[in-house]
Symmetry: C2
Subunit: 212 residues, 2 copies
C-alpha cells in the first residue's frame, strides 16, 4: 500500500493537532471536506487514524506494512556493519584467542604483510585449533584460518536480508563486508548478533510507537 | 488494521478465481454488489486487491502490517525452540568440547545426577577454559560452567521478541526454555541463530509472496 502525498500530509496534521475535526484538516490543506472524504475514509479503515464521534481524528500510531518490511529487510549492509578486528597472518593461535577476548568479538579477520584480507577465524575455529594442537603459542593463525575463496563475503550496498540469507545458508557467524571492485579490501563486518539485534531493536521501536 | 470475516472471504474468492468481477464475487457470497462496495473499495485502496477495468479483481499478494508484525515478533518461543544438548556435571571439559563439535551446537546444558538443570557452557566458556587449564581431560565441566541463578531463561509461551530482547541485553548465545513452575526443568533452547533464521526465512517468504 502506497500512501499519497496528501494522505501523508493528513497524517502529519493529525499527529500535530489531535484530536482534530475533518473540517479543520480540510482548512489546513486549503481544501473542502468532501474532497478529503475518500482519503480520511482510507486512513480510518486501515487503522492509521481513529475517528472518534464528536471528538475528531486521532493518530493510532500504526505504521503500514511496506514501510515496516523495508525498514527490517531492505536496510543496506553499510547501515549496520561494524569495524572488524584485524590480526596479522603470523599471529600465534594463543595471541589470537587473547585478541578475541580482549575485543569481546566472535571472529578475527586475518591480513597479510600488504594489509590484504587473506582469511578469518571464528571462535569455533579457535576452539578446534586448541584441541588438536599443543603448540598454540608458536603455531601461526594462518595454519588454521579459513581462506579465500572459501570465505563468503558481501558488499556494503546489499540488503540486510541478503546478508542474513548468506549467514543462514553457509552457517557462519559473520560476513566480511568488502569493496565491490576488490574483495581483498575489507571495510566492515556484519554478524549474526548484529542482525538479530537490528530485528529485535526495530521490533521494539515499532511496538513502542503502537503503544503511544 | 483488522480485516472482517467477509473481507477475508473476498480475498480467498479472488485468490481462487482471479481475475473475477465484483458481480461474481457477490454471487459467490450470496450478496448484492452494492453490499460489497465498501469492502472491495477498502481491499483495493490498501493494495491487497488490484482492480483492473474490464478484467476484474486480482490478488496482489500483499499482506498487511499487523499480520507481518505478529508473524515476526509475536510468535511463541515454543514454535521455534530446539532440543538442547545435555551433558552431566561430571563430564570433563575435553569431552564437553567433543560433544559440542559432535552435535554442531553453540552451547551445552548441564544437568546433575537428578537430571535437574544446573548450568550451561557456551563455546566462549569452553575456549576460555582451555586457555587457562592444562588438565582439561580431568577437570569437570561444573568447574567452568555458568550457574543458576546467573542464567537467563524464558518460558515456552513468551514471544520471540522477548527472547531476542533478553539475548541482546545479556549478550548470551541462547536461552534455556524452562517450565513455568520449575525452572530446573529445561524443555528446549532458543538461540541467536534460530532467531535470526526465523526473521530471515520469514522475510524471504514474504518477498516471494509479493512477487507472485
Amino acid at each position: 500500500m502506497e500512501l499519497s502525498v496528501r494522505q501523508k500530509k493528513i497524517i502529519e496534521i493529525v499527529k500535530d493537532n489531535e484530536p482534530i475535526s475533518g473540517d479543520k484538516i480540510a482548512k489546513q490543506l486549503g481544501l473542502t471536506k468532501p474532497t478529503l472524504r475518500q482519503d480520511l475514509s482510507l486512513l480510518t479503515m486501515t487503522g492509521i487514524l481513529d475517528a472518534r464521534p464528536k471528538v475528531g481524528y486521532i493518530y493510532s500510531g500504526q505504521t503500514i506494512e511496506p514501510l515496516l518490511y523495508e525498514k527490517l529487510f531492505y536496510l543496506k549492509v553499510k547501515e549496520i556493519m561494524v569495524p572488524p578486528v584485524f590480526i596479522k597472518h603470523t599471529t600465534s593461535i594463543q595471541d589470537a584467542i587473547t585478541d578475541l577476548f580482549m575485543h569481546d568479538t566472535g571472529s578475527l579477520y586475518v591480513i597479510d604483510d600488504d594489509a590484504d584480507f587473506v582469511g578469518l577465524v571464528s571462535r569455533k575455529d579457535l576452539l578446534r585449533a586448541t584441541l588438536n594442537n599443543s603448540a598454540i603459542g608458536t603455531t601461526p593463525i594462518a595454519m588454521v584460518m579459513s581462506r579465500m575463496p572459501n570465505i563468503i563475503s558481501i558488499s556494503a550496498d546489499e540488503r540486510v536480508i541478503d546478508a542474513g540469507y548468506l549467514i543462514m545458508n553457509h552457517q557462519v557467524d559473520s560476513l566480511p563486508v568488502v569493496e565491490k571492485q576488490d574483495s581483498s579490501k575489507v571495510i566492515g563486518k556484519i554478524s549474526k548478533s548484529k542482525l538479530m539485534n537490528h530485528f529485535i531493536a526495530s521490533g521494539y521501536d515499532m511496538e513502542k510507537n503502537k503503544e503511544q
